[in-house]
Amino acid sequence: MANRKIVATKLRANDLILCSSNENLMAKEENSGKILPESRTDKKYNEARRTFLKQSSLLTALALAPPAVVKAAEAGLDEKVADQFEKVPLSLEINGELKKLSVEPRTTLLDLLREQLDLTGTKKGCDYGQCGACTVHADGQRINSCLSLTVMQEGKKITTIEGLATGDELHPMQAAFIEYDGFQCGYCTPGQIMSGVACIREGHANSESEIREYMSGNICRCGAYPNIIKAITAVKKGGKKV
């Protein structure tokens, strides 16, 4: 863990300087009490060590400087900047509600939904974009929320399974999944429904083979595929706005 604790800071806009954190420094202090080879106890070594300590404290001070310093340094480049552990403020419209959020750059949209916003309807299946359980809509387009960073979705309108119904009235696709028994264990269902809605909106639900092709990004390990296809076909034929 110690060597992972790398502190990044900026002296000037063009220099990213990395220095190891205090653990390593302390290790060096301990070593200095032990018998060291001649060359390491001489004046030159001590001077080098002193310079290192001075530089380190300078870097530590800069590392503790508010993120605004980092921002200002990059601001001239017209960039949005977030440092490694810094939480970035951003706005996202989720299910029609504007959310003011604070996220680390590495937070995926899926983790934001589930861990920070308690919108646990969106499921984490594989977390690698292979199963489709995490499917949500971003500006109306279906995406895998596990493979998208929240910071990259800034300003977009996100719709999750929780945002599909109108009050107590289920979305036609939700109702059809119940009617046609389009699930068994139900874990993949939110993703299947979000994907099914998009499949119709995209105009790719005109035949069974087309539905199979365009729903291939949603895996159902219970094997409810025939009924999922029936549900999507029924919604498409029903002609209701989805």
Partner: protein, 327 residues
């Protein structure tokens, strides 16, 4: 995922500068492959330069061809009227890759920059010269059923996973890139490279260069084109073998042919010699079999992928027959 710095420039120059400032920085566009690799610690950039704000999202008709911005999504590309009309081969290839969700996110530039799906590359506990130069190639004497039959080296036998790139290689596309030293264009067939002694390098991009667009010249291949992908599931799987075939036919004779294969080499495998063989030949299965035999010259299999030696020529013949309309 390890933590990383994130910057989102609005201008191309700022994006290239932001990348050049750090040794361990990477561009991110759709992120569908990069985030996957980061979660598995296969790739660990300390800084991501998000290029989605750059104005590279358009498909334009120019004199002599079509220019596709590097940030056009796979879905937008496959569904674009001009592409469907003029380059159905490309549209078919793009739709045959990934899933609808991934195609909504993945971009043209990112599709070209995808890394191999070789299991040894993806598993950080196993040796891989591409991931960690000098550690050896696990696939060489290991499980190599998905691997190359052309152009490999003893350092790496991985294949390039992109379908889109196979079609672009066949269609004589060029790649426009921009870097600290200015702009240049690269023939698509020279964009990706063979592994040789440096399998860690997938492409011939120079350090800190950004793909800005792809240009496809006008060509008479719209009517007779077929992208045929053989895989283990009916959809959403990487190619075992794929073939991009396009023909210009006149009076039942082949004026020009374009052929490229996927799933067989470290790069999209353009079949120049087979194309020459087809020139002037009558449209017939016999002609296509002859071209397929030429295409397979020099192929060599490993322990688990000998099936590709039979599958590849059959796929070529079937793709050509479909393109010619004689199936």
């Amino acid at each position: 995922m390890i933590p990383f710095q994130y910057v989102r420039p609005k201008q191309q120059k700022a994006a290239i500068d932001a990348l050049a400032r750090d040794n361990n920085a990477m561009f991110i566009a759709g992120g569908t492959n990069l985030l996957d690799l980061m979660k598995r610690y296969v790739v660990v950039p300390q800084k991501l330069v998000d290029i989605n704000q750059l104005p590279l999202h358009n498909i334009e008709q120019l004199n002599g061809g079509i220019r596709i911005g590097a940030l056009v999504t796979n879905t937008a590309l496959a569904e674009h009227k001009l592409i469907k009309e003029k380059y159905p081969l490309l549209s078919q290839a793009v739709v045959s890759g990934a899933s609808a969700q991934l195609r909504n996110m993945a971009t043209v530039g990112g599709n070209m920059m995808q890394r191999t799906r070789c299991y040894y590359f993806y598993d950080t506990a196993l040796p891989c010269n591409k991931r960690e130069p000098g550690t050896g190639c696990g696939a060489l004497d290991g499980v190599n059923r998905m691997h190359a039959i052309f152009g490999f080296s003893d350092k790496c036998i991985a294949v390039h996973p992109s379908d889109m790139s196979v079609a672009l290689a066949a269609l004589d596309a060029t790649v426009q890139v921009s870097g600290p030293k200015g702009e240049r264009s690269i023939a698509f067939t020279d964009f990706h490279r063979l592994p040789g002694e440096q399998p860690e390098k997938d492409t011939n991009l120079h350090k800190n260069e950004l793909i800005t667009s792809v240009f496809i010249p006008d060509a008479p291949f719209a009517r007779n084109a077929c992208y045929l992908k053989v895989r283990e599931r009916a959809s959403f799987a990487f190619a075992l073998v794929s073939v991009a075939a396009a023909l210009d036919i006149s009076n039942n004779s082949i004026r020009e042919a374009r052929l490229a294969m996927g799933g067989v080499a470290h790069k999209p495998w353009r079949l120049f010699k087979a194309e020459k063989t087809l020139k002037g030949m009558p449209v017939s299965e016999a002609s296509f079999r002859q071209a397929a035999a030429v295409a397979m010259e020099g192929a060599r299999a490993f322990e688990h992928n000998a099936y590709k030696i039979k599958m590849a020529p059959e796929t070529i013949v079937h793709a050509l027959k479909t393109a010619a309309g004689i199936v």
